[in-house]
């Protein structure tokens, strides 16, 4: 008997390897750069390892901490404003009859439909006139227009997943409309709303173009710092900043994965 070797493993292994390299290659490179003291061409690996650049980033004179602070403040404010708009909007949309619903949901996509650059340039010009340029409020406003799509779409799905019967059951035994919303609908939609908050937070943390045009140079966020560092050839600082940006993203993604249930996801955009 001859043992036949299944040659199919070969292309599969190659494909998987390639995929792993595409995903983890840049990440490994980034991690290496954060601890490289000295690294130049043609060397495959850094010549010197150390945390010297971390000290520089976190030193009182480095901009990283300030940028991180303003990034978090801006992202938090963006979440608050977006949810304040998305909760009533999402609730109304989820209880609306269908033809209008699709139209409204589509309307929130419009800011995404145009090329970002000209839009932001115009916003910057307008904000400059009314004195919002270079302020946290201005940057938050830009981030809100960006994040509102996610917030409204996910909030609509979250509220749609709450059966109208559940709300009516509360109404029928004596709860007014606000009481029923507060006691029944809101708690049941909370996981979805939390997920939408996280998406908005991450979007805001990551946002570059709008922040650059509206906020710079007075407001510096982590992505702006990253840009300045890497365009100055300072790969260590850039990598450390990128790592800082990566941590909340990965952490929150794990949370979202837990909270965004299938029944909510299936209603996104419906």
């Amino acid at each position: 008997m001859t043992t036949r070797i299944d040659l199919w493993w070969l292309p599969r292994a190659v494909l998987l390897g390639l995929l792993a390299f595409i995903i983890f290659g840049p990440l490994t490179n980034l991690l290496l750069w954060t601890v490289a003291e000295k690294w130049y061409f043609p060397h495959m690996l850094p010549l010197d390892y150390g945390f010297g650049f971390w000290q520089r980033v976190f030193s009182p004179r480095g901009n990283a901490m300030v940028s991180l602070g303003s990034s978090i403040v801006i992202a938090s404010l963006t979440v608050v404003v977006s949810l304040a708009l998305a909760i009533p909007a999402g609730y109304a949309l989820s209880r609306l009859r269908l033809p209008f619903r699709g139209l409204f949901l589509l309307a929130f996509l419009i800011p995404q439909a145009f090329p970002n650059l000209p839009v932001y340039v115009n916003i910057a010009r307008f904000f400059y006139q009314i004195g919002l340029n270079g302020t946290i409020a201005g940057v938050v406003l830009v981030h809100v227009t960006h994040g509102l799509v996610y917030a409204v779409w996910i909030a609509t799905a979250a509220f749609s997943a709450v059966d109208v019967d559940l709300e009516e059951a509360a109404r029928s035994i004596g709860a007014g409309p606000f009481r029923a919303f507060r006691d029944i609908t809101l708690p049941l939609a909370a996981p979805g709303l939390l997920a939408s908050a996280i998406f908005v937070f991450l979007e805001s943390l990551d946002e570059f173009t709008g922040t650059y045009f509206v906020g710079a140079p007075d407001v510096t966020t982590l992505p702006l710092l990253l840009y300045t560092a890497s365009s100055g050839g300072n790969y260590q600082i850039a990598s450390i900043t990128a790592l800082l940006l990566l941590i909340p993203s990965i952490g929150f993604m794990l949370v979202v994965e837990r909270f965004l249930r299938a029944d909510v996801l299936s209603k996104v955009g419906h």
Binding site: D165, E168, A169, S172, I173, G174
Partner: protein, 376 residues
């Protein structure tokens, strides 16, 4: 409306967009009465219930509870409680929290709430389940929690929207009696929506048969069952056998295609002409040629009945008796018999006068379409 009516629905019309679901409907319900709204899906019974509850807005008409006009009151101000078909229990609350919510809204003290809910849980057989979430309950238990949640607020009117349709057939039979007993004991006024004839018959004081947004007939279960006012009601109440015949109406007797049957009180609106004859499979008797019909009180001559001849097309045994498909001319009817007959055997079918429901065929053929929709 009736002076004694506790809940009165006056000339109510409800529509969704261009379609009219209820059209000028009137209904009066007494205090402590258990009324079943019976009809097939799409007849408007659930819409009527939701209109009473305040979830559907009538285009015209009024709803009064004890002479208080509640037509424009929101659902939470009507003093009613609705039990949903889906039970609509709140998954983030425990059984006790679900049941206590209404009392909490009323601002009752904790002591009072605890004792009232404890009492209700005992009454409903839910003791010891108070800390469970709805997901950890069986269907029957969920149904009881939903009922308990509605009863906790001591509503003037209890509205039930097919509350038994999601239960196992076996549990359903016992829950029927439980709900009925509870309603009697609490003296609560109840409106129950169902498409199940037997459920309505067993539970209700009065059955309101609905069809296409109108009330076809209302009366006691016995009334509706034995004296259906329209072909639709007859078919819905189980008189599925249908024959077309020429009738001529005399003072005491009705001539059905040459045969004399006794005119019964429920035949009084009959006119001579084409008519459709309806009867239940269990009301007819299957006879061999030459065999005489069973003796009846008052004798055969007085009772009279319809005799038909045909051949047995098929035999089945649904339990308790044999069910025969009997071919009579173009039509096939179903007749029950304690003993089986052979396939293709020539038989006679005897239907006593009291079991015959005779209706004039309307000229536009509307009745035909309605009744066909039921038998499908």
């Amino acid at each position: 409306m009736d002076a004694g009516a506790f809940l009165s629905i006056e000339d109510i019309s409800v529509g969704y967009g261009p379609t009219t679901v209820l059209d000028g409907l009137n209904l009066a319900i007494g205090k402590g009465e258990f009324v079943a709204l019976l009809g097939s899906s799409g007849c408007g019974k659930t819409t009527l219930l939701r209109t009473i509850a305040g979830f559907a807005r009538p285009a015209k008409g009024a709803i009064r509870v004890a002479d208080r006009n509640v037509t424009h009151l929101p659902p939470d101000k009507r003093g009613m409680a609705l039990v949903f078909q889906s039970y609509a229990l709140w998954p983030h609350m425990t059984v006790t929290q679900n049941m206590a919510y209404g009392l909490k809204l009323q601002g009752r003290g904790r002591q009072e709430i605890t004792s009232r809910i404890g009492e209700l849980q005992g009454l409903l057989g839910l003791s010891g389940l108070g800390d469970r979430k709805p997901a950890q309950l069986s269907g029957g238990q969920r149904q009881r929690v939903a009922l308990g949640r509605a009863l906790a607020i001591d509503p003037e009117i209890l509205l039930l929207d097919e509350p038994l349709s999601n239960l196992d057939a076996r549990i359903r039979l016992t829950v029927r009696h439980e709900i009925r007993a509870l309603q009697k004991r609490l003296g609560i006024t109840a409106v129950h929506v169902t498409h199940d004839r037997e459920e309505a018959m067993v539970m209700a004081d009065r059955i309101v048969v609905m069809n296409r947004g109108r009330i076809e007939q209302q009366g006691t279960p016995e009334d509706v069952y034995n004296r259906p006012a329209s072909p639709f009601v007859a078919a819905f109440m189980g008189a599925e056998n249908l024959l077309d015949m020429e009738v001529s109406v005399g003072p005491q007797r009705i001539n059905l295609a040459g045969q004399q049957v006794l005119a019964m009180p429920h035949h009084r609106d009959l006119r001579s002409g084409r008519a459709e004859i309806r009867f239940r499979s269990e009301a007819a008797t299957l006879l061999r040629p030459g065999e005489s019909p069973p003796a009846q009180a008052g004798g055969l001559e007085l009772a009279g009945g319809l005799e038909l001849t045909g051949t047995v097309a098929n035999v089945s045994y649904p339990g308790g008796h044999f069910r025969h498909g009997v071919r009579i001319g173009e039509r096939e009817i179903l007749v029950d018999s304690p003993a089986p007959f052979n396939q293709d055997e020539h038989v006679r079918v005897y239907v006593p006068s009291s079991a015959l429901f005779i209706f004039n065929t309307s000229t536009d053929g509307e009745n035909d379409r309605q009744t066909e929709a039921i038998s499908n």
